[in-house]
Assembly symmetry: C2
Homo-oligomer: 438 residues x 2
C-alpha cells in the first residue's frame, strides 16, 4: 500500500491550545471566576460567536474594524465577535421586554481579534465579563459593588496582594474643564499613559496640545497626588473647584469608596488613583483597573467602568451600565510567564484502581462505580499489561491514590490503597476509602 502524504497537524498563530495540565489550571480559573460572579447574583448568558457584520460593527471603526474576522457565506456578511460588550448590547436591545432590570449578566467566552501575532498576544482569547444594565437609570451604589466582586474573585483565585484602582471620568473631565481645556478626551488619553511613559513625556505631550505650563503643573499635581483614600477625598474637596462635572464626579467617588467599605473590602485592596483614565471614549463615570502588586508587569488584569447608552446603536432606550472584564487567556499566559502558575495535575482523577488478576476485573469495575457514585473521580487501569506500567501511568498523570485489587483483596474485601505522593499504604474496607477521599 502506498503511504499517503500526511498533513502537518498545527495551529494558527495566536490561537492558544493547552496541554492537559494547563487546561486544568485554566478550568480552575474559569470555574472560580464563574462562581464568584454567581455569588453576586449575576446571570449567565451565551451569545453566538458569529453575528451579522452590520450588527456587530454598528459602532466599530478604525483599528477595531481592521482586526475583525469578517467573511461572507452565501450572501450573508458575517463577523466573529471581538468582545462581549457589543453582543451584550445586541442581546439587551433584542430581549428588552423579556429581561428583568437591572440586568446583572455575566458571560465568559472566546473573542477574536486579528492582531499582529506576538508572544502573549492572542487572536482567539477568553474574556470573563460582568455588567449591570439599568433600565433608564442605575444607582451609583452599583459602582461600589463592582470592586467587591473584583475583590472576591481575585481572593478566590488565591491572590492577597492586589489593588483595585478607582477613578472617575467626570472628576477628571471636570478638572480639565475647570482649567478651560476643551479637548478633554485627548488629555485623558495622555494622562492615562503616565505610569508607562513617565512625567516628562506626559508634560511634553500636553505641551504639544498648547496647554500652558502652569496648567500642566496643576494637572500633574492633581493626577499624581499621593496619600490614603481619605487623604485623596479630602484633597479633591480642598481644591474648591466649582465645575459641575467635577462636583458630581467627586460625590460619586465618595459614595463609591464608602460603599466598597460597606462590602468589607479591606482598605489595602482598593485605592483611588487619579491617573487612571482607560482608553475608551465609552466610559462616562467610575473606572476601574486591577493590579497584582507582586506582578505589576502584567498591567491591569481586570478593568472596566461606568457607561451610558449601552445599546444606542440599536435602540432609543436609555440603558446605562457598569461592568468589568478579565482577559482570562492573557492573565493565565502572564501568570505562567512570571512563574506564579506551575501546572501540576494532568488529570482531575483522584484514584486509580488496578486489577491485579483477571478475576479482579469485576470487583474493580464495581468499586469504581461505588466511588463514582460518591462523586470521587475514578479510573480503572485495565489498559496496562503489568503493574509497573500501571503505576507509571498513575505517576505521569499525578493521580494521588492507587487501589490494588488482587486475590487477597477479593477474599477479605479489604483493599490496599497507596498514597502516590508519600508512598503510605493502608489496607481498608471500601466505606473507609470513600470517606478518606470525599
Amino acid at each position: 500500500m502506498q503511504k499517503e502524504k500526511k498533513i502537518i497537524p498545527r495551529n494558527l498563530p495566536g490561537f492558544e491550545e493547552y496541554l492537559p495540565e494547563d487546561q486544568i489550571v485554566f478550568n480552575k480559573y474559569y470555574d472560580t471566576i464563574r462562581k464568584s460572579y454567581e455569588k453576586f447574583g449575576f446571570i449567565p448568558i451565551d451569545t453566538p460567536v458569529i453575528e451579522y457584520s452590520d450588527v456587530l460593527l454598528a459602532k466599530a471603526g478604525g483599528e477595531t474594524e481592521k482586526q475583525i474576522y469578517r467573511f461572507t457565506k452565501g450572501d450573508t456578511d458575517m463577523s466573529l465577535r471581538f468582545d462581549l460588550t457589543v453582543p451584550l448590547a445586541k442581546y439587551v436591545a433584542k430581549n428588552t421586554g423579556n429581561l428583568t432590570f437591572p440586568f446583572r449578566r455575566y458571560q465568559i467566552g472566546k473573542v477574536y481579534r486579528g492582531e499582529k501575532a506576538q508572544r502573549g498576544r492572542y487572536r482567539e482569547f477568553y474574556q470573563a465579563d460582568i455588567d449591570v444594565i439599568g433600565d433608564d437609570e442605575l444607582p451609583i451604589l452599583t459602582d461600589a459593588e463592582i470592586p467587591a466582586i473584583i475583590y472576591d474573585t481575585f481572593k478566590s483565585l488565591g491572590f492577597d496582594n492586589f489593588v483595585i484602582k478607582i477613578n472617575n471620568r467626570k472628576l477628571l473631565n471636570g478638572f480639565f474643564e475647570s482649567l478651560d481645556i476643551s479637548d478633554t478626551s485627548e488629555v485623558l488619553r495622555i494622562v492615562d499613559k503616565i505610569d508607562k511613559v513617565g512625567n516628562n513625556t506626559v508634560t511634553q505631550m500636553l505641551k504639544e496640545l498648547k496647554i500652558t505650563d502652569d496648567k500642566i503643573e496643576k494637572i500633574l499635581k492633581f493626577i499624581t497626588y499621593n496619600g490614603s483614600n481619605m487623604d485623596k477625598l479630602e484633597y479633591i474637596e480642598s481644591l474648591n473647584i466649582l465645575n459641575n462635572k467635577f462636583i458630581e464626579g467627586r460625590q460619586e467617588l465618595k459614595t463609591v469608596i464608602e460603599g466598597i467599605r460597606f462590602f468589607l473590602v479591606p482598605e489595602i485592596n482598593f485605592e483611588i488613583d487619579f491617573k487612571i483614565a482607560r482608553g475608551l471614549d465609552y466610559y462616562t463615570g467610575t473606572i476601574y483597573e486591577t493590579i497584582l502588586t507582586d506582578y505589576k508587569e502584567l498591567g491591569s488584569v481586570c478593568s472596566g467602568g461606568r457607561y451610558e447608552g449601552l445599546a444606542k446603536y440599536y435602540t432609543n432606550k436609555k440603558l446605562p451600565g457598569v461592568g468589568i472584564s478579565i482577559g482570562l487567556t492573557r492573565l493565565i499566559f502572564g501568570l505562567k510567564e512570571v512563574g506564579y502558575i506551575k501546572s501540576n495535575e494532568a488529570t482531575n482523577t483522584k484514584i486509580m484502581i488496578i486489577p491485579m488478576c483477571d478475576k479482579a476485573t469485576k470487583k474493580s469495575f464495581e468499586i469504581a462505580t461505588l466511588l463514582r457514585n460518591s462523586n470521587i473521580n475514578t479510573e480503572v487501569n485495565y489498559y496496562k499489561k503489568n503493574l509497573k506500567s500501571s503505576l507509571n501511568y498513575a505517576n505521569k498523570l499525578k493521580i494521588p491514590y492507587v487501589l490494588f485489587i488482587g486475590e487477597d483483596e477479593l477474599k477479605t474485601e479489604k483493599y490496599t490503597i497507596k498514597n502516590m505522593y508519600n508512598g503510605d499504604q493502608e489496607i481498608i474496607p471500601i466505606n473507609q476509602i470513600v470517606s478518606k477521599l470525599s
Copy 2:
C-alpha cells in the same frame, strides 16, 4: 439633535441564544455532563474554533465540505471546526509526545455547520464528546466502560427511562460477508434506516442491490431478532457462522455486555440491537446509540463507537479509539419541544436583601458579604425605590428568599427572612440564615 438610524438587533438563523431561564437550564446540563465525564477520569481539552483549512479538511469531502464556514484572512485559508473529532485527531497527533496513553479526553464546545436552516437544525451548536485514544492498541473493555459513562450521565441529568443500544460493526460486516455480499458498507447504511423507513422499504432497497430474496430474509431475521441481551448473545452463537469477522465481533460484543454488567449498569438500560449501524464509515467495531424511551421522537441523544486510526491524515502512528458525543444544543431543543424541560429559574441567586431605610445599606452590604463568603448567591436590592418594586423584581427572577433589614432589624440584629414560594416568614439571626441556606 438628529436621531440616528438604528440597526435592528438580530441573530443569524440557526444560531441559538437563550434567554436567562433557558441559559440556566443549559448550564445545568453542561455542568452535569462535565461532572459525569470527570468522574470517569476524563481530562478536559479545548481546541481553537478556527483551524487551517488543510488541517481541518484533511479527511472531509462531499456534504461536510459544503457546510464548512471557510474564509481567508490575509493569505491564510481558515475554517471553523465542524465537529470535535478532527480537532482531537490534530491535538493528539500534534502532542503525542506530551500525552499519557490511553488518553481519556473530554471536550464540550461549539461547532459550526452551514446546514439548511430549519427548526431544530443549528448552524452553531454544542457537542459534548469523550474519547479514549490508545497508543497502538486499546483493550475492548474500554468499549464496556463507555455505556457506564452514558448511564451515569443520563441518570445524573435526571432520566430513568433510557436505553443504550449496542451493536458491533464486525459482527454486521461478518454476517453480510457470510452471505457473500460484497458491498457491505452500502448494506449497513440501508439496514441502519429500518426503524425509520420500515421493513418493506429496506427489503426494496436491498433488492435494488441485487441481493436475493433468501438472503434478504436472513438479513431481516438477523437484524430484527428480539429478546433479552442473553437471548441475543445465544442467538448469534447458534448461527454457527464461521466468518472470522463475525466471530471476532461476537466475542467483542459478549465481552462488552459482560463488562457493562460489571459496572452495575441495570440490564433495563442497555440492549443489544443488531439494527443499529451508524452512518459513518469511520466506525470499525462497537457502536452505540441512546434512546430516551419516553421521547423516542428525539432519535439518538448520545451516539458513538469504536474506530481505528484516529489521526491517520496527520501521522503514521496507530491510534485506535472509542468515543461518544452528545449534541447538547439539539438535546435541549428537543427536550423543550416535548415539554420535558420547563424553564423556571431566571437566576441562580438564593436570597435578595432589601434595605428598608437608608441607614440599612451598610448592614445589608455587610450581610451580603457574609452570605457570599458562605457560598450563598446573594443580591442586595439597592436599585428599587419602594418595597413593592423590590419584591416584584425578586418574583420575576424567582429568587427563593428575601431578607428585610429595617430599623428594628438594625437594633435587634435579627432579620426577617421570607420564603417567596409559600410566604412563610421568620425572624432569625444571621448564623441561622446561613445554615438555613447552606
